[in-house]
């Protein structure tokens, strides 16, 4: 097998799944994919398709049921546990609940494969730990107990822990699952920085398609019958995401990478005006179940400009004024 020297991880016809008794329960068709140094890779697929199993198999927590995994060109089966722990670090969705464990101590556990028999933290280890804390901006928290942290802070601590583990590859199972929107942005930003500036290869699963598309270098899209890999934009163009959601209620717009609810249109409305207010008025109209007409017809909404503070809704029978989108939409809904 020819190896690209930058190719730090590759999957060759990998079969993943569970062994129960004598039966092998293989979840997916053989998977082939690769990751280069410094890439941020999002693993995307519907719930229960086997993303977690794939990540666990990559970390060595589960045996492959066929096919191969190569780390820097060497088969995962040839690595000892300690060697593998210096290649790939792992964060699962499991929340660590230990009281009396400080942030520093948790991050220090990342040094496990590097320390001596008793786990003594040498000066060098200490420096690596402080560096990991600094990179995740957790330095000021290091004397706090892990049990006192918020979800976002705890996740950053876990990331600091794999940084301290000093592995080229970081594998994370839904690192943003429990976080609020601000927390999600922060973690995505951190992952992006660590991969693009810090030379780490990060493979993470997520359900946040929009964020994944805008931030990752590559996407491993797991569908029922195959794995498709490529830059998010390539997958957008090829329409690969369209197969992801077989729900008739959700629509993925390949133009801007957003989702919308499919609903029957109650009619179309023309909107006159530009800018921010137009954008949000359109959104509201869509939500209420109307399409935006491209031709100047009635009914028509004139959005507020510098002179007027109100939305004007003109229909064939009347012209009404509204001082908020809320009022406007309420009135529209009543009319239909």
């Amino acid at each position: 097998m020819k190896m690209n020297p930058n190719e730090i991880l590759s999957l060759d016809s990998l079969k993943i799944g569970y062994v129960s008794g004598k039966n092998k329960n293989i979840l997916l068709p053989p998977l082939t994919a690769s990751a280069k140094r410094g890439e941020l890779i999002a693993v995307i697929g519907r719930n229960g398709i086997g993303k977690s199993t794939l990540l666990r198999t990559l970390t060595g927590l589960q045996q492959p049921l066929g096919g191969e995994i190569f780390y820097s060109g060497k088969n995962i089966r040839e690595y000892s546990k300690m060697e593998l722990a210096q290649k790939a670090g792992y964060i699962s969705t499991e929340i660590i609940k230990v009281s009396n464990m400080s942030v520093y101590d948790l991050v220090a556990l990342g040094r496990f494969p590097h320390t001596n028999w008793i786990g003594k933290i040498e000066k060098k280890d200490h420096e690596v730990i402080l560096d990991a804390l600094a990179k995740t901006s957790m330095t000021s928290f290091r004397r706090k107990f892990v049990s006192e942290l918020s979800d976002g802070e705890r996740q950053k601590t876990m990331i600091a822990r794999i940084l301290a583990q000093d592995t080229g590859i970081m594998i994370m199972d839904e690192p943003t699952a429990f976080l609020d929107v601000a927390g999600k942005y922060e973690i995505f930003h951190l992952l992006h920085t660590l991969s693009n500036n810090g030379d780490k290869t990060i493979v993470f699963s997520t359900h946040d398609l929009q964020m994944a598309i805008s931030q990752s270098d590559k996407i491993w899209l797991i569908l029922d019958n195959k794995l498709i890999e490529g830059a998010p934009e390539d997958l957008m163009i090829s329409g690969a995401f369209d197969h992801l959601f077989d729900s008739s209620n959700v629509m993925f717009n390949s133009e801007d990478g957003t989702f919308s609810f499919r609903s029957e249109t109650k009619g179309s409305i023309y909107i006159e005006g530009n800018g921010n207010k137009r954008h949000w008025t359109e959104k509201a109209i869509n939500r209420a179940g109307f399409a935006v007409s491209k031709e100047k017809t009635l009914p028509c909404i004139i959005i507020p400009s510098d002179n007027t503070k109100s939305w004007q809704l003109s229909t064939q029978s009347s012209i009404q004024e509204f001082f908020s989108i809320y009022e406007l939409i309420s009135s529209l809904s009543e009319k239909v």
């Binding site: 660590i96 009281s99 464990m101 556990l109 496990f112 003594k120």
Partner: protein
Amino acid sequence: MQKEFSSDLKSRRNTRLIFSSLVLLVAIFLILDIFFGSVSIKASDVIKAIFTNADNNFEIIILKFRLPKAITALTVGVALSLSGLQMQTVFRNPMAGPYVLGISSGASLGVAFVILGFSSNITTVSLNGLGNWILVAASWIGAGAVMLLIMVISSKVKDIMTILILGIMLSSGISAIVTIMQYFSNETLLKAYVIWTMGSLGNLTASQLNVLLISVLAGVIMSLFSSKMLNALLLGENYASSIGLNVRIARAVIFTCTSILAGSVTAFCGPIGFIGIAVPHIVRILFKTSDHKILIPGTILMGGAVMLISDIISQLPGSESVLPVNAVTSLIGIPVVIWVILRNRKYSGPF
């Protein structure tokens, strides 16, 4: 930043201070334990008995009875507390301990097999030399078997309280088996066994104390080697494995160690409750850490201190009567256990 690092330094100084105080405490309690007993002996006579060859009754009491008993108390405290600490981490369960999970019962079943089952002409006197080792090995095997059973159960059942209840069931089941064995054994053996179950720190022969000391020393050395594994296991199996720990080997080492520690004590002193579960919690609160490099030595010292003070209290200094040491350890341990249960409802974490 400057302030932050000075606070690091302060906490390290604190840890050192607590360690030195604990060492001092153990030393003081050890001395007090020798000074107090049902026969009141003047301090000057105690010192004379230890350092000179006075060859009187006092010397016999001090050297043949009180000193071995104090050493036994220290050893028992160290062993039970350490095994409790290891079990709490491996099972990720704050309620784990040799007594509550039925490990001590398992050990007593082993002992019952030796005393009641196999040899028909065994007496406490013939339980010397090799006999002691057979007794202690049976105890290890009994303890180990229950540990494995609990491990299998806790891989299927995650709920801490359920495991606790199953542990109590297990203890009751084992007691039932022992009762049946007692029913079918003759009077002499029965008496030997019943005396054993009463549990005492003061009934050990010199050769039994030797066996206990060697076993516990082996356990302590093993536990020092296990501190890194224990730290990793705090994160749970998956994370421990992902940072490079061979979970199976780690479990085997820690189980062996725990079985030796809890089994040896139970073999010679009978089941002693609540030290194993309570002491690790006291140490965690005291040192405010989860790092076993600190918790293990801390538990060794605190375990010794608590058992020594229990023994001193059981002497009822100033009176001639003696309480069963088991009652004292329960009275010290149970409030800690209750506190942990109540606190756990709030935090819902394993420790």
